[in-house]
């Protein structure tokens, strides 16, 4: 993966850029350097090229997307603001040319694209798929949990029948399995190269794949300086989709928001990923800004049922009526995303996220509080994460102010980022707090599985309702068009809005600014998918 200066010159501009013109480059802005290079900036660090590795952080997931293929992928649709988004309703071929599912839903047979090759030129075979799936379910940690969501648990479920046929045997039929094959985790590695670099202590070649991309994807990583930059180069032999419009993508890490903003406005960077809501509001017009509401994600106020006053349903309702939703949406989200309050009282669809039937009404809030055993108010600590102060701080301050009018005194407690997950999700000990779970698989039952079932990670409110427990278990694997599905999901919504362990605020948006780049596409994993990028 080392690259000499000479090699860069050879490939840098697709052969156009020669040593002779290099001296002029320093007087040109970076943008003008070559026609088929895009410079992107983001504020996070990529800490591994391997999504299966222990400790790989979220920004690194994009390497799995851009440099590897999966068996299947999602389609593409156009968003209302003219941008592109993945389409959850359409599953499309990526490495698999076609697939069939047995009538009982327990056997899935994939035919691989015979033209698909890895970046070293060797053919992608079912044995590679089998090895990669075995790796994902054996690695432990996040990849194994994600595989489990689709019912993929043990290596013996995967069989390479012949070179081009791969079979998955399931213990139960589930609508989650096929979409779970399109998330970044079950990516296909070149098992031959991996095995050549595996050792007795490291049978899955974690050390090698950590630093090298050995996939069949649209790009390969030609340079990675942790903490500084990642350089992608197009794989011209890619068969998973139409070739990217650029030869290279240079992704620089720029921690300061102000600097990223200066770079994108000046056009020295053509893409700024995940910009703050404030910048998104102020920059749109100068540069192209895409604000896509994140699917299956809601920012909520967590109301912990372990805290005595919150065991009283009237106190929870008082809270829901006392929240100044609109002010929060403007102050914390700068109007980006979708409001999640003031919806209709009857549940008319299974669309999720869905507006709650509550809206700001201090009279109703007082009414409910007076009905409760805590009419005189109480004191409660309000916890927020120091790592997410951009939205949590203004939200918490506005809620604090509003609750004070009811006689509920809250003191804002800021918890350092490293401790936040432990306190809020693992120990679940925060009485009143903010939370922002988003599910990758876009089904309401999947959201409820993580956020409303007792003991599950994102149920930070220690909520337990027997009916929800049953309903989630019944619907999680049920097909959406099954006649029982919609009524059961609607019933879940009803209970959730009645019991209010999580008071919905708004659906957050992912903001991306471009200035001289096209083809940005939103994906549920909220990382940069560079496969459709082009200059322009």
């Amino acid at each position: 993966m080392t690259l000499t200066r000479r090699e860069l010159l050879k490939i840098g501009g697709g052969g156009v850029l020669g040593a002779g013109i290099l001296p002029f480059l320093k007087v040109l802005p970076a943008a003008a350097a070559t026609d088929d290079v895009i410079v992107g900036v983001h504020g996070q660090t990529i800490n591994s090229l391997d999504i299966h590795r222990t400790g790989t952080n979220r920004p690194s997931y994009q390497v799995a997307v851009n440099c590897y293929d999966r068996l299947v992928s999602f389609g593409t649709k156009t968003t209302p603001d003219g941008g592109l988004s993945y389409d959850y309703s359409k599953i499309e071929p990526e490495l698999a040319e076609s697939w069939t599912i047995s009538d009982d839903g327990l056997t899935m047979t994939f035919k691989l694209n015979p033209k698909a090759v890895f970046q070293d030129g060797s053919k992608v075979t079912a044995a590679d798929v089998k090895w990669s799936f075995d790796r994902a379910v054996s690695a432990g940690g996040f990849p194994t949990v994600q595989m489990k969501a689709g019912g993929l648990v043990r290596p013996d479920q995967f069989t390479a029948v012949d070179e081009g046929t791969f079979v998955i045997t399931l213990d139960r039929s589930s609508k989650l399995t096929l979409p779970d094959l399109a998330v970044p985790v079950p990516y296909i590695l070149n098992s031959r190269i991996a095995l050549a670099n595996a050792t007795a202590e490291d049978p899955w070649a974690m050390e090698y794949v950590h630093k090298n991309t050995i996939g069949s994807g649209a790009y390969k990583v030609v340079r990675w300086d942790p903490g500084q930059q990642l350089v992608y180069e197009r794989n011209d032999a890619w068969t998973g989709g139409p070739l990217p419009g650029i030869k290279r993508l240079v992704l620089r890490e720029v921690p300061s928001q102000a600097t990223r903003r200066a770079l994108i406005t000046r056009g020295d960077a053509q893409l700024s990923f995940n910009i703050p809501n404030k910048d998104a509001k102020e920059l749109s017009g100068d540069v192209k800004v895409f604000s896509t509401p994140i699917e299956n994600s809601i920012y909520v106020v967590g109301v912990n049922h372990k805290f005595e006053p919150f065991q009283d349903p009237d106190v929870r309702k008082a809270l829901a009526y006392a929240i100044p939703y609109e002010e929060i949406f403007q102050a914390a989200a700068y109007g980006r995303g979708n409001p999640m309050w003031g919806g209709r009282a009857d549940i008319d669809s299974i669309d999720w996220p869905r507006k709650s039937p509550y809206s700001t009404d201090m009279d109703k809030a007082r009414e409910h509080l007076e009905k409760s055993a805590f009419a005189k108010g109480f004191e409660v600590p309000f916890s927020i994460s120091l790592g997410q102060t951009d939205w949590m701080e203004p939200t918490a301050l506005l809620i604090q102010e509003s609750l004070a009018k009811l006689g509920i005194k809250s003191e804002i407690e800021k918890i350092p980022g490293a401790n936040w997950r432990t306190a809020s999700l693992v120990e679940k000990r925060l009485a009143l707090h903010l939370e922002g779970f988003g599910g990758w698989l876009n089904y309401p039952c999947y959201y409820f599985f993580w956020a409303y079932k007792d003991g599950h990670l994102f149920n930070s409110s220690n909520y337990r309702n027997e009916e929800i427990e049953t309903l989630v278990d019944e619907t999680l694997h049920l097909a959406v068009d099954h006649p029982d599905y919609a009524p059961k999901v609607k019933r879940m919504f009803e209970i959730a809005f009645e019991d209010l362990p999580r008071i919905p605020l708004w659906q957050p948006a992912l903001n991306v600014a471009t200035n001289g780049a096209t083809g940005y596409e939103y994906w549920f994993h909220r990382q940069l998918d560079a496969r459709k990028l082009a200059k322009g």
Binding site: G227, V254, A258
Partner: protein
């Protein structure tokens, strides 16, 4: 063995308990921090089982004394451990980032000395004059403007509005490839390779952050130079020298300035060590891959190995720096002994 060499060796020996102390304190303090790296690195959708699994992989399920012994054993083999937040061995991270910070800090300090020391001397020789007031204004402005603010203002002016400065994208624009690594200092490495173009590119990237830092470090150096110079100029030996009929220049530079240098060197040492660890904000604003931002990022996610590596590296650096300053003292003032006693 010359007495000076023996003195230096003795000083190095004295540093050993300090380093041992730092190893212990670094270990205990990182463990005392709130936060659980296993939970943090288990990822978005982790359940209790996968958190436990990660705790085991990271070796965090062992009792603390045993973790400490493993840590010390690794240290003795020169292994600082693996940083989870960057995914690299801590030694590799430090080797990449320490030169970046040192280069920035040293250039900034050189710049700052080049302005602050003459300014301080001039202010002291003409107290109450225009230059004295100018010195005071500059110093006050330098301390009162926080570095991230100066940094952002400089970027706004010179990059955004005027377009003179290069994109604030770290140590080199992406079209340049870093020079072959010899020292890790881009300026030195590119000069050694005879690559004038990369040298200039690296220098251009360095100007704005170095000026930002220099503005901030001007104040203590200029103030200290002025005060020490005033003290020296009113000392008996200067009066004697003047009475003996030496020229004003000789009195000022050979006698007064040399004596005033001691406190200035002390301040310089303090400013250097302070700046190296504290220029996080400058590093963030200019996307400079330095050691300060590395440590802060590691701290935020409870990345034990990285934090311990940073603390140790800084301890070594300070020991070396103090030694250097002590040696400099003896060069400036022969009366200061360097005996083992």
């Amino acid at each position: 063995m010359s007495p000076r060499l023996r003195g230096i060796l003795f000083r190095i020996a004295q540093a050993i308990p300090v380093v041992i102390g730092v190893v212990i304190i670094g270990f205990v303090l990182t463990r005392a921090l709130p936060g659980d790296p296993a939970v943090y690195f288990a990822g978005a959708a982790a359940d209790a089982a996968s958190i436990a699994e990660i705790r085991k992989t990271l070796g965090l399920d062992l009792p603390l004394p045993q973790q400490f012994l493993i840590y010390v054993g690794d240290l003795l083999r020169g292994d600082f451990g693996q940083s989870i937040s960057t995914g690299q061995p801590v030694t590799a991270d430090l080797a990449n980032r320490l030169p970046a910070s040192l280069e920035l800090t040293l250039v900034a300090l050189l710049l700052s000395c080049a302005i602050a020391i003459p300014l301080g001397v001039m202010a002291a020789t003409r107290p109450g004059s225009l230059i004295d007031h100018a010195c005071r204004v500059l110093v006050t402005a330098g301390v009162s403007l926080p570095t991230f603010f100066t940094g952002v203002v400089l970027i706004y002016l010179f990059y955004y509005l005027l377009g003179i400065a290069p994109s604030p994208l770290g140590r080199l624009d992406f079209i340049y490839i870093e020079p072959d690594r010899i020292t890790g200092f881009y300026l030195i490495d590119s000069a050694l390779a005879g690559d004038g173009e990369t040298f200039l590119a690296a220098l251009r990237q360095l100007v704005l952050p170095a000026v930002t830092l220099a503005l901030f470090t001007l104040a203590p150096i200029a103030r200290m130079t002025r005060a020490a110079m005033l003290g020296a100029l009113s000392a008996d030996f200067v009066r004697t020298a003047r009475a003996a009929g030496l020229t004003g220049r000789t009195v000022r530079y050979t006698y007064a300035f040399r004596n005033a240098l001691l406190p200035v060197v002390t301040t310089l040492g303090m400013v250097f060590s302070f700046t190296l660890g504290a220029n996080v904000l400058v590093e963030k604003v200019f996307a400079w891959p330095g050691i300060g931002s590395y440590a802060v990022e590691a701290l935020v996610v409870s990345d034990y190995a990285a934090v311990q590596g940073f603390v140790l590296a800084m301890a070594f650096l300070f020991v070396a720096l103090n030694l250097l300053i002590d040696v400099t003292y003896t060069l400036i003032d022969p009366r200061i002994g360097f005996e083992a006693s």
